[in-house]
Subunit: 278 residues, 2 copies
């Protein structure tokens, strides 16, 4: 059965999903974006079969929300009457604890299914121009069922490998946000903090892979990330405090010239990494 | 003129230098290592033409010290009588401020030339088994002249492209150590501190490039890095304090829910990175 997919927000993630659906499935794809140049580019490149209208929303089997968290909720509220019961609605946001109850509430109210999702893929740069049908190749796809019917979760699990994902992981909003604070948000805070050093502008000739790795994601979309950080305030602050506590332990061992304590701390890090087989 | 090169310490860096000399130059290469298995492997793989003796040291045109900082100084002290005036002695240590005056002093005493060097290349794992003739391909080679005659510095500059380096950079011990604290030592402290989070062991399925990048070098050789950190105590502590100060600014904006301050901080990071054309 050929399914009707509507994708709202044709940035890096939405654009890549559109391209992956068109390249690897037989779903029809309609795209919605408030930015005209994104719409024109998506249509011209064949990433979407058409620009989505209210009528497309009404016929949608799957609705992918690929905006920022608050804009996703606003979109669903605004178009609630057009989302038919039976539609599978999902999002791609990087934080879940505040978003999920809101969208799950609207799902219950209107009778559609809502399963939250988070494709663990990205790039240092954003926008439709960066989108790629193979962005998700090998990546994890985190699913947060939010009380949706089992067949809705299974539908996304079935789509995942077609879109290129290597695996799906099911979790709760709270566990998702704690883990993402660690795996994704902290590295972005670090990258920005790191390049603020007065030494940074002179790094060339003195740097190699370590500099490149830590600084890579400093080229941040501050509007999006500020919203994601603030939506995950408690978990992110806790994780940053954990990190700076560990940095302080190493810093203090260095400052005290305490080689034995320093080696023990570095060894602790090495054993964690080795224990993960990495 | 076929030069006699002696390489002391056949680990990742020494082993890679040996292989690069053998593959890309017509120098003869003798290797010295206190570990028999490294000597056997180096000889068997052809990375060295022979195992170095006191006689080889006496004939050396270039002596590469590829041990830890203190061991490099100890080696030169112990074999001082065998290093002929006219020999070019260089090291590959990651810190310079304490090492350089010691080796420059011995150079003056004995009449050889000492130019300190730091190949900006490495791997997450150490030892001869990891060595690679192409480890230095595209990397920077930092040179610290330490008052050596100009022709000694020029000799290393001339060798650099043959060994694969993309560029050489000349600097002072103090500037080297300040820059390395930022570009290399801080990322290693970060990687170890980061993986100490209680969230780390459960990261799989929730992580992507950001986790991989920040944690990459946590697989640390704690003996070597503790020595490097302690040899660069002041600069490293200062750089860590700079970093944690910047992390605290972002952390506090998140904790206060101050979106404007948060966006301004993230924007500051982005502009630095963009300004470098990265």
């Amino acid at each position: 059965m050929k399914r009707n997919v509507v994708i709202v927000g044709l940035g890096l993630i939405g654009g890549s999903l559109a391209k992956a659906f068109r390249k690897y499935t037989d779903c029809s794809v309609a795209g919605i974006d408030r930015d005209e140049s994104a719409r024109v580019a998506a249509l011209a490149s064949g990433a979407v079969g058409k620009i989505g209208t209210e009528e497309d929303l009404k016929k949608a089997d799957i609705l992918f929300l690929c905006l920022y968290p608050k804009a996703d909720v606003d979109f669903v509220r605004k178009h609630l009457a057009s989302i038919r019961p039976g539609c599978l609605v999902t999002d791609t946001c990087g934080v879940k604890s505040r978003l999920c109850p809101r969208l799950a509430g609207l799902a219950k109210e209107r009778g559609f299914s809502f399963v939250s999702g988070h494709p663990m893929a990205g790039k240092e740069k954003n926008g439709f121009a960066q989108s790629d049908a193979d962005l998700f190749r090998g990546a994890s796809y985190i699913l947060v069922p939010c009380g949706a019917p089992k067949q809705a979760v299974e539908a996304l699990k079935g789509l995942a490998p077609k879109l290129g994902f290597a695996r799906t992981v099911e979790t709760t909003p709270e566990e998702h946000d704690r883990m993402i604070a660690f795996t994704s948000q902290v590295p972005h805070v670090l990258a920005c903090s790191y390049v603020m050093s007065p030494r940074c502008p002179g790094h060339k000739g003195f740097s190699a892979g370590s500099y490149r790795d830590v600084s890579r994601v400093a080229n941040i979309n501050e509007t999006m990330w500020a919203e994601l950080f603030l939506e995950n305030r408690e978990a992110l602050v806790e994780e940053l405090d954990t990190l700076t506590g560990h940095i302080a332990e190493i810093r203090n061992a260095v400052a005290a010239g305490d080689g034995a304590a320093l080696r023990a701390l570095l060894r602790r890090g090495r054993l964690v990494k080795e224990g993960l087989g990495e």
